[in-house]
Amino acid sequence: MSDKPPVLDFATDWDHTDPQWVNNPYPIWEDLRSRCPVAHTERYGGGWFPATHAGVTAIAKDTDHFTSRSVVVGNGRPGEEDLPAPIGLAPPITSDPPFHAIARRLILPAFAPGAVNALEPQIRALCVELLDRFGEADVINAGLGYANYIPPSVIRQMLGFPEADTEKFLEIVHVVLENVDKPEEERLEEFLPINEYFLAQIEDHVANPRDDLTSYLLNVELEGEKLSHELIGGVMILILVAGIDTTWSAIGASLWHLAQHPEDLARLVNEPDLMPVAIEEFLRFYAPVTMARLVKEDMEYLGCPMKQDDWILLGFPAANRDPVVFKDADKFIIDRAENRHVAFGLGIHRCAGSNLARLEMRVAIEEFIKRYPRFELADPAQVTWAQGQVRGPRSLTLRVR
């Protein structure tokens, strides 16, 4: 990263891994909205970044002109042959219509509110257990010791993988999420033991069916046929990729905010009914997820000369700060009643896990502030932020007493 030249003008040379963007992207987006609503870059082989709510909405909903074949900006482009469009590598997130709807229907019932709400007691028990581990410490790491453990543990439980495998599962998650830009061959090698583990768990569920997500995936039918074990393994990987550092970031950013805004913390402690509204404002203000699209063919779009295979960096977090749509867009208003934010995306790829993510956020924050009704940053300089398309605090030390 350090070998890249620093960005001098984000309107003509944007780079979402530039330290200025990683540290504080909001002024950059505000500046772009005022003078160049669709920014361009020659980096990554060419790409565009709409900074407005309108631009993000138009592209997110336009699956005729943009493909989800790859949703992570990089230097290469996925070849047609290794990604049989419209299915893609990780359906449904990398699928286009018409296959997308079929793949999405498979997983939606497992993440619908009815199925997800039933998990609340076990998520609560998990949060309490994690908080207990902090004991009587005055300073705790809420990023690496709380927020990071909740999403993978919930997914492990949903999949019905053994409690005894918790550590192993965390290792797997680590491999899946880290080093995504390693060469393809190294990645494949790293994934071998993971596939093996998943296949063994799947076999075990064939032998001993139970009421969990793995057994659900074994029973569900795609056009009259059961899913292959490989495809089920693929769905599991997607859920890990999509559901972990995203939710970790959302929980972490919320706690980071509360640590610096005692007035908001006090309101949440005193008015628990405010929580659902507050969660939506956390999601708007600290939206952790930026996606990407590829331009399907040369065209003029939003007034820009787009070329086939140009990237679109789809900034849901930037859309959420657009003053055209949000009053006082750059202010965090904990009881903001009208909040049409797009943190979970828009259109057909809307986050399939949004009900689960909201539940995890709510329970994680409720239990945290119940245990620690007052807390503050132990050392602001030590907070580290993830860079790339998922943004949120990683290490987050808090003084809780």
């Binding site: 229907r105 619908a112 009643a337 934010h341």
Partner: protein
């Protein structure tokens, strides 16, 4: 006054049924549905309007009586 959800626009963002659980529900896929025939009282009208203002997909409509 009646509230309707345009099923072609709704993507199951779930804002409506959390804001107004006595006006909206959800189906097996998590998409929003209007409970009953959607007729609104002066009380539920406010909640339905709030849900409408929060739906990211602009999928909720309130129709005047014919």
């Amino acid at each position: 006054m009646k509230v309707v959800i345009d099923a072609d626009l709704c993507q199951g963002q779930g804002r409506c049924f959390s804001i107004a659980p006595n006006v909206f529900g959800f189906d097996d896929l998590g998409n929003g549905v209007v409970l009953g025939d959607g007729t609104l009282t002066s009380e539920t009208l406010k909640l339905a309007q709030l849900a409408m203002a929060n739906c990211p997909e602009h999928a909720i409509f309130i129709e005047d009586d014919e």
